[in-house]
Symmetry: C2
Subunit: 139 residues, 2 copies
DNA sequence: ATAAAGCCTGAAGTCACTAGAGGGTCAAAC
DNA sequence: GTTTGACCCTCTAGTGACTTCAGGCTTTAT
């Protein structure tokens, strides 16, 4: 492999990605298929490295694969306005905020259930009680 | 179907669950298989209703299927201490706290990226820039 | 009698990977 | 020059918690 080209393993360490994940990204069309060596090894260029870095950062920020696809498509068209990019990012932020709200609600509900646990027997366990409906449950 | 028994559709509306999800719960052993009518329709009892309500509430609190399995197993043994239940709940709470921390980090990173967007062209877009590595990217 | 709604099974699809089987290639040590 | 071991290849299946689909039976309403 030339000095300029990276094996899949090198690309993996360079970007903190697993080798299998890189092949997966190729299979779903996120990362373009690189050239191959005579031994049929993938040989990645600096462009591939840049693109994979982009992908990893976007994924780390929680963008879905398809959102990353969109961002990449937009990033390739240098002349158009970046309003679309901003919109995707803002939508994603709203999504995160929804998740945060949900998780916070969850957290307070769950912890209030836990606090009530007096470590008695199951039949008087507040956690189980809270989950079970008022009626029924008993045979 | 008798007055006391519910079709899968009624059970679904009663618990806010999709019909397919109920069949899925049966297939993974969360919900015991109910009796059948002569037409081979599932016929659910009040116990099934109670159990599914329990499952749905636990799932809504973010417990995984296998955690719900454990909780159900424990709930059925009325005489033992509920320490195990408490432990599962506390572990789950810790998990939620981890997720909350991660999401909050994510949120502040993403929103700082968004704030920098001046709606220029893609080539000067801060969002794209932040995602892309300093070097490379250009052919 | 017929149409619509509801139910049945079994298999495949979703998301974003991860793991494994069964092999080929390459660099270095001996 | 051969052997060891790390690295790479493809293809397939598994994860979690469902969802969707195909193809067909049952019940209910008109």
């Amino acid at each position: 492999m030339s000095v300029e080209l990276l094996s899949i393993g090198k690309l993996a360490t360079a970007t903190g990605t697993k080798v299998e994940t890189i092949r997966y990204y190729e299979s779903v069309g996120l990362l373009p298929p690189p050239g191959r060596t005579k031994g049929n090894y993938r040989a990645y260029s600096a462009q591939h490295l840049a693109r994979l870095s982009f992908i990893r950062r976007a994924r780390a920020l929680g963008f879905s694969i398809s959102q990353v696809q969109e961002l990449l498509k937009l990033a390739d068209q240098k002349d158009i306005s970046c309003k679309a990019v901003d919109m995707i990012a803002r939508e994603h932020l709203a999504e995160i905020d929804r998740k945060l709200r949900d998780l916070n609600t969850l957290r307070s509900e769950l912890s209030s259930v836990i606090v009530q646990c007096r470590h008695g027997t199951i039949s008087e366990c507040r956690i189980i009680e809270t989950l079970a409906p008022d009626s029924a449950a008993g045979g």
